[in-house]
Symmetry: C2
Subunit: 136 residues, 2 copies
DNA sequence: ATGCCTGCAAAATATTTGCATGTAA
DNA sequence: TTACATGCAAATATTTTGCAGGCAT
């Protein structure tokens, strides 16, 4: 399976109706041109800096939120104190090793939810998050 | 089924090796002498004030954390930006109506998890959180 | 009396926003 | 050119911490 190449990034952004600006290109390159990953804003900001992209942390936050809004990323709430962004959009769940602050994918289909009860009047399911918390 | 009465609170705290101080008594009374509930620190702080208990927000936070550490409460991470504390300690899951910021219990047993994959080397399961996100 | 608790304010963290400037189309 | 994006700093929101004084035992 091939990873996305850098020159496919502009199209990816355009399809999402986001202008392919320098910063978005750089961050999208880091996020999408390789295997799936989980990042925090802080991590991605540092990584961008390491690659010579000077992008402010606020812009990293804004960009991650935009990418989430248009469905390029999925937010994962595992820790209350930090937000993770997952490049894997398929229907899957997560292990969370709190001590290491690391998320690990549980492949789609491995974990199934059975016995969904009736929903409150007039509501529908927007998503199901399963976090399996791990300890040593 | 009877709810806990106020005069059982000191024993509850003592069993948890927490001194029954005025503030802990007041907060425990609000939390445990009635049906199960989900609260945020902010909500509990306001509620205490409404009942004439002037307890600082910092103390509410500290107390909720202590109660969680000794197993009187369970923390529920639903929203990333707020921590909920649940008085229902049984093995159950939650609906989360993001728009209303409200958690709703899914009774234990209603929802089952099937097909847990192998865990990473040397780790064990500390807990499983399922959040079913709802929208209108 | 002793040591754990609390209140307050200040610090720490994580994230968002306002606005002047920069840049893609 | 023109609207949208960015950088920066400041604002916001939430939670934690330090320390002087208070209270349970």
């Amino acid at each position: 399976m091939e990873y996305l190449s850098k020159d496919e990034i502009p199209a990816l952004l355009r399809e999402a109706e986001l202008r392919p600006t320098r910063q978005r290109m750089a961050l999208a390159g880091l996020l999408f041109c390789g295997p799936h990953r989980h990042v925090t804003a802080e991590e991605l900001h540092r990584e961008a800096a390491d690659h010579g992209h000077s992008i402010s942390l606020a812009t990293v936050y804004n960009t991650l939120n935009q990418f989430s809004e248009v469905g390029l990323l999925r937010e994962v709430v595992a820790d209350g104190s930090r937000t993770f962004y997952d490049t894997n959009l398929s229907d899957h769940h997560h292990f969370y090793a709190a001590k290491r602050g690391k998320l690990i994918d549980i492949p789609a289909g491995d974990l199934r939810i059975e016995g969904m009860p009736a929903l409150p009047e007039g509501m529908k399911v927007a998503g199901i998050d399963v976090i399996v918390r791990l300890e040593e």
